[in-house]
């Protein structure tokens, strides 16, 4: 019985660990909505700030990777080539029987970095969680370790909100 209890306990602990990782970003981030339990993927406010949009978009990227459903993410990422490529990768994984599991970004800072006409540039410093993914039902499971990174997002104003039109990573 003891080993069974041990395994059961470990599983429970692991679930707690996973749950803790998954919720890490929303716990550490400054509150951006009135309700602490509301998800960043809920409807945006009437006039969405760039910061709120970025957090909602990051959540959409996480959801996309974990479910294979790309529509919501792509609707927020028009004209963003690397976003479209990522969505195509994810769609391909799931279509071939693969999957992705990612706990998402823990956003540390969001800083305005300039503007190109109406487009606004933001540097987003994150600590990305590890990723486990499988490109098809028969391919081996692969891992990405995650870690700190600074991403640059170029946002275009769109219908009281924003669209990501470019995503890059800044060397640090």
């Amino acid at each position: 019985m003891a080993p069974r209890r041990t395994i059961a306990g470990l599983l429970a602990a692991s679930v707690l660990v996973l749950t803790g990782c998954g919720g890490g970003s929303s716990v550490a981030d400054p509150p951006v909505q009135s309700s602490p339990t509301s998800s960043p993927t809920s409807d945006p406010p009437a006039q969405e700030t760039a910061e709120h949009f970025i957090r909602r978009w990051a959540e959409a990227e996480k959801q996309m990777e974990n479910t294979g459903k790309t529509a919501a993410y792509l609707s927020m990422s028009r004209q963003c080539t690397s976003c479209r490529q990522l969505a195509a990768d994810i769609r391909g994984f799931y279509a071939a029987g693969g999957f992705a599991r990612w706990v998402g970004w823990r956003i540390l800072t969001i800083k305005p970095a300039g503007s190109h006409g109406q487009d606004k540039v933001y540097d987003v410093t994150v600590d990305s969680g590890p990723t486990r993914y499988r490109e098809s039902g028969t391919s081996p499971i692969k891992h990405l370790k995650g870690g700190p990174a600074t991403h640059q997002l170029v946002l275009k104003p769109h219908d009281n909100s924003w669209l990501v039109v470019q995503k890059a990573q800044i060397a640090r």
């Binding site: 599983l11 690397s82 990405l144 890059a168 060397a171």
Partner: protein
């Protein structure tokens, strides 16, 4: 308890996988490009100081820069895409090592000063703009006119595209005038054999000055065309002219030409 630790380790591996080094592309050491799946697909940009640091750390190589259209896209542009880094707006460049035609897998976001310091407007930069711009296709004039000529007859060919064409573009924030001069013509007479093509520096001339002619030996339809090779030079602002290293050939569009035979008829006056 001793058995618990291996189980815990196995469970960790099952859940999170074996810790391993992330994939890394050569030259992208300062972008954790494989930190997550999104990062794998992202372009990596470096500031001027990061770019200088990279070049200093690889002093056994030479580097050059060329304007890039967009972050992550390796296509080149006559005018670089805009970028912002470290609070500065700049222009986006691909970075090339030695004679490698492929750029490094990161891009530099450079102010005009930084770009100039790193080679700025070089003949190579202008060369690409020269190739990227559209230059005139030489009109091919055939005599006799109206798309008909005679078999076993000297058909005359010439073009009116003989003068330099200039275009001004902005490269690294500076106006650069590029001048393309037709220096060589390749005449495809369309008779079905490549060995009948002729290369001249002469644009030909209108009748009766027959300088580029061809005699078709068979009746039928042919599609002659004319390719034009341009030599280029450029200048920054009102500075001195400099030669663009390589020439550029613009292919011409074929024209329809009927080769017919003539039957003599006696006519009375």
């Amino acid at each position: 308890m001793r058995r618990t630790l291996p189980i815990l380790a196995l469970l960790f591996v099952a859940l999170f996988g074996m810790p391993q080094l992330a994939l890394s592309k050569e030259g992208a050491t300062q972008c954790s490009s494989a930190g997550d799946l999104g990062g794998v697909r992202e372009g990596c940009i470096k500031s001027g100081s990061e770019t200088n640091g990279y070049i200093s750390a690889h002093s056994d190589h030479t580097y050059s820069i060329r304007p890039a259209c967009e972050i992550g896209g390796l296509a080149l542009c006559a005018e670089p895409g805009r970028c912002s880094i470290d609070g500065h707006d700049g222009n986006l460049f691909n970075v090339y090592q030695d004679a490698d035609p492929e750029p490094l897998d990161w891009q530099a976001c450079l102010t005009d000063q930084e770009a100039e310091h790193l080679g700025g407007i070089t003949p190579g930069v202008v060369q690409h703009a020269f190739e990227w711009l559209t230059w005139p296709v030489s009109p091919l004039v055939v005599q006799p006119p109206k798309g008909r000529t005679l078999v076993n007859f000297d058909t005359n060919f010439y073009t009116t595209n003989t003068s330099p064409t200039t275009q001004t573009v902005t490269l690294i924030g500076q106006p650069v005038t590029i001048e393309a001069t037709p220096t060589q013509y390749r005449w495809h007479f369309g008779s079905g054999a490549d060995d009948t093509d002729r290369i001249t520096t002469d644009p030909g001339a209108a009748y009766p000055d027959l300088r580029v002619t061809y005699r078709y030996l068979h009746v039928g339809t042919v599609r002659p065309s004319l390719d034009t090779t341009y030599a280029g030079r450029y200048r920054v602002g009102t500075g001195p002219w400099r030669t663009i290293p390589d020439t550029l050939t613009v292919p011409g569009a074929p024209v329809d030409l009927q080769v017919v035979s003539a039957t003599p008829h006696l006519v009375g006056y």
